[in-house]
């Protein structure tokens, strides 16, 4: 009886073939997500408008020369490892008042009158040389952005019991939640990220 039936084609090995293909595709396709430091370029300035006059104590000057050395405030050569702490100290100083005459109540800095007045007034100015290597430039930018992120995290942790990075993640997951958005805006307002880039030296 069994001999008379047409023998079935063994489909068991079909799975092997398909698996082989599947594994090939899994291995070869690289799902590389593009990551990077996002920046917004300043708009083109009208040459007739004079730049606002800033107090020198409100500007944190970072120079990077063509030998990739970092000079801070025109006098201290600093290692990249120390840059973040120095920037944090400067931003968080809170020695004076902002333009509305309010003191920085959330700052935990030294309140040194010779350093920045208020996070809203503190400006980080970055100047590099044309010959600076791109890697160094990115490292410096990264540390400066990192200083702001650290401060924002700390404030957010204190106000809402959740880090700023986590808030941003939550916002991505439910973009319509107004409460999260308000929290983010509040923290951004308290520690605005002001990094200005000067034209590089030739």
């Amino acid at each position: 009886m069994a001999r008379r039936e047409t023998p079935e084609i063994n489909a068991g090995s079909m799975a092997d073939i398909a698996f082989l293909l599947l594994i090939f595709f899994l291995v070869t396709t690289t799902m590389d997500v593009d990551t990077g430091i996002s920046r917004k370029l300043p708009e083109k300035q009208d040459p007739n408008i004079k730049p606002p006059i800033l107090k020198e104590k409100n500007v944190f000057e970072v120079n990077v020369n063509r030998r990739n050395e970092i000079l801070v405030e025109g006098e201290i050569y600093m290692k990249i490892e120390d840059l973040r702490e120095a920037a944090k100290e400067f931003i968080d100083n809170g020695g004076g008042k902002d333009e509305n005459g309010e003191e920085c109540t959330w700052c935990e800095g030294k309140k040194d009158p010779a350093s920045s007045d208020h996070p809203k007034k503190a400006i980080i100015s970055l100047q590099s040389d044309r010959g600076t290597s791109y890697g160094t430039y990115i490292a410096v930018q990264n540390e400066l952005v990192g200083a702001y992120t650290d401060l924002r995290n700390r404030l957010s942790e204190k106000l809402y019991g959740i880090s700023y990075t986590q808030l941003l993640k939550d916002k991505k997951n439910n973009p319509k939640n107004q409460a999260i958005k308000d929290k983010i805006d509040n923290i951004k307002k308290k520690y605005p990220q002001i990094i200005s880039e000067a034209e590089p030296t030739k």
Binding site: F25, S133, Y134
Partner: protein, 156 residues
């Protein structure tokens, strides 16, 4: 009729005939979802710097790429690649306009330029690119980096 007179003894084997279907379904899923958009590089593959304060780039269709690196034949200086050919700084403006022409009016302000530059490129080249981009009002940029410690960049 003989087909219906099967033995009823023993455990029936589980049919594996549908297994390939399942696997093929997975296969097709992966084939369709993975985007193989590779522009072949005319310059030496840039070794991206590392950073940890990174953001993910979303909506890849809105991103245009500028590559900066050394040329393959070893001529000195940084080379810029836009799309598929090595270009000069002056071509960036027309490159941006060409990218804009492919998108609708409301998408234009969301367009981002991603700069994929080598760790050892000069900041001068990057500045020139930024000035050109600023001239045409393409203000959103992204320095493409790998995830990692930024301190490693200094070791090169």
């Amino acid at each position: 009729m003989s087909k219906f007179k099967k033995r009823k003894k023993g455990m029936p084997g589980i049919s594996t005939a549908s297994l390939p279907d399942i696997v093929f379904m997975l296969l097709f899923f992966f084939m369709v979802t993975t985007v193989m958009r590779e522009t072949d590089l005319k310059i030496r593959k840039p070794q991206l710097p590392k950073a940890n304060q990174v953001k993910k780039l979303e909506r890849k269709s809105l991103v245009s790429y500028i590559y900066v690196g050394k040329s393959k034949d070893g001529t000195p200086g940084d080379k810029i690649q836009l799309n598929d050919k090595i270009s000069s700084i002056k071509d960036i403006k027309s490159f941006v306009f060409a990218e804009r022409a492919q998108h609708s009016e409301e998408e234009i302000k969301l367009l981002t330029t991603s700069i994929k530059a080598d760790v050892n490129a000069n900041v001068g080249t990057i500045t020139d690119i930024k000035l050109e981009l600023r001239d045409v009002n393409a203000l959103k940029i992204n320095y493409s980096t790998l995830k990692g410690s930024a301190l490693d960049n200094m070791k090169n």
